[in-house]
């Protein structure tokens, strides 16, 4: 069952090709056109009791909006509304419905996304509710605009008579429109991409991120420290407990890279018996014996620089010397909110060179270099970048350049896939691939067809395409979280459900259903790998409970759930007050 679900979800989650997207767009346009015609020729002529008819076009516009994006919603609304404005029976002013539908489509998608971001779960029920509300608002908007333009047909009495009935019929017809839109956008849209974000920790509003990280790093969670805030800045540390990332298949005890290529086999111990972790602040993990290499992070220009590397001290001192000589890191972070996480897992490598240059703010770079010669130059001009990659092959070279901000970039081409002649995946490579530097990559199983998923950029909020491909050499995925995402990820379904076997099953058909069950605990992961949007550190309704060994980590007192923070924070998320336009 899990495997079946996983395969179907994986199939539906595969980032669509441009041709597929274009096809979907064409189908959407054709559907809207057909809806306009059906509305005019059939629905408007139905002698329904109450003197009103459902507005199929408005319903379809809002459904498409919640299934895709605000941009698509606005465009679809404008086009469909304009068609209704100028198609022959229309006697109202041209542009009225275009205005209303455009706003309805954009608003529906915007609100839907905001709610999804807040809740951390992409819930079709929420989408449907938002869609129905937007349709009702659109009906009201039609009446209001008609009255404003002193349309003789739209009087207060007429609106009072028509509006309730029309909204009622809209609600009755809404499931059909929603199903249609979800069906069309399946596999390409927003809704169908199963994004189970792990429950975020419950932090109080007044809780500061530093404290959170400190408390987290003191417990079972991997070492997350802000720069200079950890008490164990350079002190050796005892090996911590392995954070248990219970991924979707619910196998307790699966460690880090759950659901690997060979499910059911014993978990491969991590390199050095250590927990891969995120350590911020540019310090090497204590106890590794590594020295600070080269020119590292000489400048931390902004605040909230997060930067870390977890190295595994397997290599000898010579290797380290070479590493120190060769590893040159020029991190120039002019912005704030940088997070660079690099894990050099497996045998430490000489000549690993890395130059990350992140001009924007909110950068996250997480990578693990596992092989000699691994070279990586990621240049990410925007803010909110996340690059998480582990290069396991020799001479693997990677240059990712993201044009926008809000990109998230994660890839783990493991094994020798990148280099070509690397041959079959060795145990070492598997080991290295498993010891991901963070939960980001740990979410995806090694050597899985996840690479297919990350082939194309996911332009959505909160995407993390963490791919570890052992066989395929793929370009780095480009994923785009939204503003304020630290490492906003939505776990790919393959990782969610764990089973990566080629189990058959209907593709995609279960996406809606599976996403509806996402709230169950078995589907949760580690929160830091999948953080919700801005303010996620401080506001969250989700709990850690049961996610980590030893129960709930120390949640500071005074932590309040998101729901109590009131309408202002919700409005702030919606960008109503002070939001940038």
């Amino acid at each position: 069952m899990n495997g079946l679900l996983a395969s179907s979800l994986s199939a539906s989650n595969a980032e669509p090709s441009p041709a597929r997207k274009a096809l979907t767009a064409v189908v959407l346009a054709a559907t809207l056109f057909a809806a306009v015609i059906v509305q005019l020729t059939v629905v408007n002529r139905l002698p329904l009791p109450g003197g009103a008819v459902p507005d199929l076009v408005l319903l379809l516009v809002t459904a498409i909006a919640v299934c895709t994006s605000p941009l698509t919603g606005a465009l679809a609304g404008f086009a469909a509304g304009l068609a209704l404005d100028v198609a022959p029976p229309a006697v109202h002013y041209a542009g009225e419905y275009a205005l209303v539908f455009c706003l309805a489509g954009w608003g529906a998608a915007r609100v839907n996304r905001a709610i999804w971001d807040m809740r951390g779960v992409r819930d079709p029920v929420v989408a449907f509710t938002v869609m129905a509300g937007a349709a009702a608002a659109g009906e009201a908007g039609k009446a209001a605009l008609g009255m404003m333009l002193s349309d003789p047909d739209v009087t207060g009495a007429a609106a009072g008579r028509v509006l309730p009935t029309a909204i009622l019929y809209d609600l009755l017809a809404a499931p059909f429109a929603f199903w249609l839109a979800a069906r069309i956008t399946r596999g390409t849209g927003f809704l169908s991409t199963i994004a189970v974000r792990a429950p975020a920790p419950e932090f109080g509003v007044e809780q500061r991120p530093a404290l959170v990280f400190r408390s987290a790093s003191a417990g079972a969670a991997p070492g997350l420290r802000l720069a200079g805030t950890g008490e164990n800045y350079h002190r050796p540390q005892a090996a911590r407990r392995v954070p248990r990332l219970r991924l979707a298949d619910g196998r307790a005890g699966s460690v880090i890279g759950t659901g690997g290529a060979a499910p059911g086999t014993a978990a491969v111990p991590l390199a050095g018996g250590r927990t891969p972790r995120l350590s911020f602040g540019g310090d090497l993990p204590a106890g590794t014996g590594q020295v600070r290499t080269g020119r590292r992070a000489a400048r931390t220009p902004g605040k909230n620089w997060l930067r870390g590397a977890s190295g595994v001290p397997l290599a000898g001192s010579r290797a380290f010397a070479a590493h120190a000589a060769a590893a040159r890191r020029a991190a120039r972070g002019p912005g704030r909110g940088w997070l660079a996480v690099a894990g050099t897992a497996g045998p430490a490598v000489p000549a690993a060179q890395r130059a990350s240059r992140a001009p924007g703010k909110g950068w996250i770079t997480a990578g693990s270099l596992a092989r000699p010669g691994g070279q990586r130059a990621s240049r990410i001009p925007g803010k909110g970048w996340i690059a998480a990659g582990s290069l396991a092959g020799p001479a693997a070279k990677r240059a990712a350049r993201g044009p926008g901000r809000g990109w998230l970039h994660a890839a783990r081409p493991g094994g020798g896939g990148l280099a070509g002649p690397g041959g079959p995946r060795s145990a070492e490579a598997a080991l290295a691939a498993r010891s991901a530097p963070s939960g980001l990559s740990a979410l995806s199983g090694g050597g899985t067809p996840m690479a297919a998923m990350s082939r194309h950029g996911a332009p959505r909020a909160g995407w993390l395409g963490a791919a570890r491909s052992a066989a395929a050499s793929v370009p780095a995925p480009r994923l785009a979280p939204r503003r304020g995402w630290l490492s906003g990820t939505s776990r790919p379904p393959g990782a969610v459900l764990g089973g990566h076997g080629p189990a058959g099953g209907s593709r995609g058909g279960r996406s809606l259903r599976a996403s509806a069950f996402r709230g169950s605990r078995a589907y949760r992961g580690n929160w830091y790998a999948a953080a919700p949007s801005g303010g996620w550190l401080r506001r969250s309704r989700r709990r850690w409970h049961g996610l980590l060994p030893g129960g709930r980590p120390p949640v500071p007192r005074g932590a309040r759930p998101m729901a109590k923070t009131g309408i202002r924070s919700a409005a702030r998320r919606l960008g109503l007050f002070g939001g940038r336009w």
């Binding site: 003197g51 507005d55 022959p88 229309a90 109202h92 041209a94 542009g95």
Partner: protein, 265 residues
């Protein structure tokens, strides 16, 4: 974020375009070129769709006994209206109103589309290619339906008499007193009533009185003598100078099928 900003930019652009369209159309009184363009684009598709749905309605254009009978009815109704008007005081009316001489020509068409919740309008599958122009009387076998509001080469948009923007001059069938009928919108709801306002203060209104169109100059937008409806309720407010009443139209606006357009010559 980039995507969100782009969405906002696009949204604002679309809103500006929509408002500009509304403004232009408002200035032109609802007759801007956008409607013409839209009509040309959508008319063929609506034709096809109307034919398809007409099959299910049993009134496909050209075929079916019901359709042909309705067509006949519409034509007979127009002839009757003309004959009655001629009988009454042909010479006087003709001289007064410059009535078109000769026989009315009726072009029949089938309803293929209808307006939304707030607009009482339908589209016929005949247009200017069939000789229809704007402001021509539309009727069916029961009585007055409306007037042609706009035409495209292949379609004609009919503003129903129940539309709130429609005003029909009527006269009492017996007494010949004149008044005006205004729509109240909501024809598709069924049971749509028209508001009658008589011009003479001394007019006595009783339920059951029959109203026919008074006629307009040149038969536009209404030819005289077409039955409109019966007075159903007198609503004259106390102390009001002009008697008012509600009129139940003869035509069933919820089941419009074949309509006839009186084409002026």
């Amino acid at each position: 974020m980039l995507e969100a900003r782009r969405a906002r930019v696009v949204l604002i652009g679309l809103l500006v375009v929509a408002i500009a369209l509304i403004t232009i159309d408002f200035r032109d009184g609802g007759g801007s070129a956008a409607h013409g363009v839209g009509g040309r684009l959508f008319a063929p598709v609506e034709h096809v769709a109307g034919d398809v749905t007409g099959v299910f309605r049993g009134a496909a254009g050209g075929g079916g006994d019901v359709a042909s009978l309705q067509r006949q009815n519409a034509q007979l109704r127009a002839q009757l209206a003309q004959a009655q008007a001629a009988d009454a005081d042909a010479a006087q009316l003709a001289g007064l109103l410059h009535l078109a001489k000769g026989k009315y020509t009726v072009v029949t068409g089938t309803v293929i589309a209808a307006g939304g919740d707030y607009s009482d309008s339908v589209t016929l599958n005949v247009g200017s290619a069939d000789g229809i122009t704007a402001d021509e009387t539309v009727l069916n076998g029961d009585g007055l339906v409306g007037t042609v509001a706009a035409v495209t080469p292949t379609t004609a948009t009919v503003q129903l008499a129940t539309d709130a923007a429609a005003t029909v001059g009527v006269r009492m069938a017996g007494s010949g007193q004149i008044g005006a009928l205004t729509g109240t919108a909501g024809s598709m709801a069924g049971g749509a009533q028209l508001k009658l306002t008589m011009f003479e203060s001394g007019t006595v209104l009783r339920p059951g009185q029959i109203l026919v169109t008074f006629g307009s100059v040149g038969g536009r937008p209404y030819v005289p003598g077409v039955p409109v409806g019966t007075v159903s309720a007198v609503t004259t407010p106390p102390g009001s100078l002009s008697p008012t009443a509600l009129v139940k139209p003869f035509a069933d606006f919820t089941a419009l099928g074949v309509l006839g357009v009186v084409v002026s010559q």
